[in-house]
Symmetry: C2
Subunit: 80 residues, 2 copies
Amino acid sequence: MKARVTITLKPGVLDPQGKAIEGALADLGFADVASARQGKVIDLELSATDEAAARAEVGQMCEALLANTVVERYDIAILA
Amino acid sequence: MKARVTITLKPGVLDPQGKAIEGALADLGFADVASARQGKVIDLELSATDEAAARAEVGQMCEALLANTVVERYDIAILA
């Protein structure tokens, strides 16, 4: 079973990487970009076969290691 | 209009960050994880209002700056 965890900064948390991307896109002539924010995505291959169990386990992984829940939020998608 | 770009390593490209995550999850007792791969996600706020135009522009941004297409692939999702 595959799971995708998407981790993004909470609104209001300063994002220097995103600001750097905004600046670089503007320098390249993409005047259309109002804002950019960067997060990360983690693709996991699990041996669990039950979707609910997999989702619960990935939630524990996020809380324990993958996300810093003080400043980040995470979304879990079970892919197959 | 919001766009989300998800950038992941192509299959076969070595992913030391993913390997570190695998090791750390195993150390924490998550024996269920067969593999982990890390990528990044970039959320863009665009002033464009036409979905096709926005998608084309974000594709240009990926080719020019956001993704290293030698080792990475990107997916563009237009959110609203």
